[in-house]
């Protein structure tokens, strides 16, 4: 836990430096006749953020040596696996959205998770994997009139309109 705490704090400090770097592309001081420049607000916030993050990092480093805190692990037993099992397929789904359409990507993701991770019977997996995308299609394309990305399969969806 201590290592994670310290790493995140210094990571955030580094992020603040990146923020500050991009913020100063616009004037960070007083612009004559205009008041504070466009970079003023993000730049000084980033400076404060960086400073506070370093303080937290040092704080955690000192405090983390207390036995109760040091013994605590970041991931619970088998927790990392559970998280990755949903995060990685999720990311793959998003990557597929622009290729094989939101709907097909969602069907594959839902089938994979309910069947192989959830170990549900086929009929339940298929039921979920079909009804959810159909529901989303009706809600977004028909009701909200928001077309979702369909990648290379755009033309295949013409028949549904």
């Amino acid at each position: 836990m201590r290592r994670a705490d310290v790493a995140l704090a210094f990571g955030l400090a580094a992020l603040a430096v990146v923020f500050a770097w991009y913020a100063q592309e616009l004037p960070i001081g007083w612009v004559h006749g205009e008041g504070p420049g466009g970079g003023f607000f993000p730049f000084w916030l980033s400076i404060i953020m960086g400073t506070v993050a370093v303080v937290v990092g040092v704080q955690e480093f000192v405090r983390g040596s207390a036995p109760d805190r040091a013994a605590k692990r970041f991931f619970t037993e088998g927790g990392l696996k559970q998280v990755l099992l949903i995060a990685i397929p999720g990311f793959i789904m998003v990557a597929l959205v622009d290729v094989i359409s939101t709907y097909l990507a969602a069907i594959i993701f839902l089938l994979f998770y309910t069947r192989w991770i959830g170990k549900h019977p086929w009929w339940i997996s298929l039921l979920v994997a079909v009804t959810v995308p159909v529901g989303i299609f009706l809600l977004f394309e028909k009701f909200l009139l928001i077309p979702l990305p369909k990648g290379y399969l755009d033309e295949l969806f013409y028949i549904f309109y």
Binding site: Y22, P36, F41, F74, V83, L139, L148
Partner: protein, 513 residues
């Protein structure tokens, strides 16, 4: 009695078929989401927000506040029957709710929770109706200096009252504020913070992308790891006889209802507080003043009344500053405030003048939603307990898909879908390491207003920060800004002073030994 006229006008809007339908749908969905372990009102509002794009803003806000209400009712269901809080707002309900269920009084506990929620909500709406117009009128006089110091105060309450490490709270707030500056500079119109030249950042970071990421995807990742340990499942059957006998039993706990309602309303108004701390405070205060404090924790209905009255009262209380000042009183109202912006409304006191139908339609619909919620809850509790059978391995992928689509909907950008997932991972890590998420969402929602009011104030004062302490051109002309500023300073000082006192106490204790 202008209020009554306005309220009647509000009812005439709230009972139109579309608005009524949205209220019913919202209450049902909200109760279902509230009943699901781990998901609460803020998750429900964030995940279902895209639905409101199809309806006018008034119907939209009625839908969202109905979800908010429903979730407060629903949270009690899994607290009582499974000993798993349906949402953080219902944690205190497990203390006596589950013991009651174990004793075979699950029906009484559920009816008690629903009736308490109704009373807390209704008292709070009446207070809301009376307080809102004068507060909005007062806020109409706010200039940039007052607006900026008010927002600073909102951020300060998180550091001063939020608990946890105040420095982490400050970092979370700053991240939200910095994210709000991504895109075009509102004053000069030039692009900034686009990290080189990443096209997806030109339209800024949409608050919904952050909210869905943190409260949708992040929440699922968090619950995927935390295996919630359920108590023995308790079967429930609620008969009309149970409802009547429970109500009869509850009449003698007037004090618990009064404490819960008032405490909930006023705690709910504070930006950092909201329904969760309100329910805990109410539980301990009611216990202290109870005739039978020893019964608490063993399954007394008073221990269900206290938190359930307070969490509903707080959810209405949280809407008061959101609507009148444009400062949300809870994470859920922060998301609702962001929704207002998406719908093209400017949150704040001007709503009461420019969008009367919106404000009074919402207020009237709160009365209606509360009645709907208690009826739906009393007669459909067994139905909602069935939702608890939905396994995580079906619920989780379903929510992930809905979140991905929800991240795309506000901006039509696959880039934002990615961003929502990245925020989800970040939110998961932040939660594990005790960085609060609510100030981040609040800061992203309020960021633009904060920056504009800061820059306008500084232009007025020719670059001097003395304007925030009330002085303009050497004259003390902004007393409200000064009061808000000093309160913020004091709130930021609370944790520092606390740390110093603890330090000296420890030294005194060491010297004695």
């Amino acid at each position: 009695m202008e209020v009554f006229g306005n309220l009647l006008y509000g009812f005439s809007i709230a009972i139109t078929p579309l608005n009524l339908a949205m209220a019913i749908l919202g209450v049902v969905l909200g109760t279902a989401i509230g009943a699901m372990p781990g998901l609460g009102s803020v998750n429900g509002v964030a995940i279902l927000l895209p639905i409101t794009f199809a309806v006018p803003p008034t119907a939209g806000i009625i839908f969202l506040s109905a979800i908010y209400y429903g979730a407060m009712y629903g949270g009690a269901i899994s607290s009582i029957t499974l000993n798993i809080p349906g949402a953080s707002t219902a944690v205190a309900t497990t203390f006596d709710g589950y013991p009651m269920a174990k004793k075979g009084r699950a029906a009484q506990a559920l009816v008690g929770a629903a009736v308490s929620s109704f009373i807390g909500g209704t008292v709070s709406i009446i207070l809301f109706t009376l307080f809102a117009p004068p507060l909005a009128e007062f806020a109409l006089r706010f200039g940039p200096a007052e607006t900026f110091t008010l927002m600073l105060l909102a951020y300060a309450t998180f550091a001063g009252l939020g608990g946890g490490n105040p420095l982490k709270t400050i970092i979370a707030t700053l991240i939200g504020l910095i994210l709000s500056t991504v895109g075009l500079d509102i004053i000069s119109g030039r692009p900034r913070m686009i990290f080189g030249d990443i096209a997806g950042f030109y339209h800024g970071v949409n608050f919904l992308v952050l909210a869905i990421g943190l409260y949708g995807i992040g929440e699922i990742l968090f619950s995927a790891e935390e295996r919630l340990v359920a108590g023995d499942r308790v079967a429930v059957k609620v008969r009309l006889r149970d409802i009547l006998s429970t109500i009869k039993e509850m009449v003698k706990y007037k004090r618990a209802f009064t404490i819960g309602s008032l405490l909930g309303f006023f705690v709910g108004m504070l930006p950092a507080a909201g329904a969760t701390p309100a329910s805990f405070m109410s539980y301990s205060v009611v216990k202290r003043f109870s005739k039978h404090p020893e019964a608490f924790g063993t399954g007394t209905i008073e221990g269900v009344i206290a938190p359930e009255t307070a969490n509903n009262a707080a959810s209405t209380g949280a809407m008061l500053p959101m609507l009148t000042l444009g400062i949300p009183g809870s994470p859920t109202t922060a998301v609702m405030l962001g929704a207002l912006v998406v719908w093209g409304l400017l949150p704040g006191p001007m709503l009461f003048i420019e969008h009367r139908e919106f404000v009074w339609g919402l207020i009237a619909s709160l009365y209606i939603a509360n009645v709907l919620a208690v009826l739906i809850n009393l007669f459909a509790i067994p139905l909602f307990t069935m939702i608890l059978w939905l396994p995580f391995t079906i619920l989780a992928p379903l929510i992930i898909v809905v979140c991905a689509v929800g991240g795309y909907a506000p901006t039509f950008s696959v880039f934002d879908m990615w961003l929502a997932f990245i925020f989800g991972l970040a939110g998961y890590v932040f939660r594990k390491l005790d960085y609060p998420l609510a100030p981040m969402v609040l800061a992203l929602v309020l960021g633009n207003g904060t920056e504009v009011s800061l820059r306008q104030s500084l232009i007025m004062s020719h670059g001097s920060i003395s304007i925030f302490f009330g002085f303009e051109g050497g004259v003390f002309s902004h007393p409200i800004a000064a009061a808000l500023m000093w309160t913020s300073v004091a709130l930021y000082a609370i944790p520092v002073v606390g740390a110093i006192i603890r330090h000296f106490r420890r030294r005194v204790a060491l010297a004695k030994t």
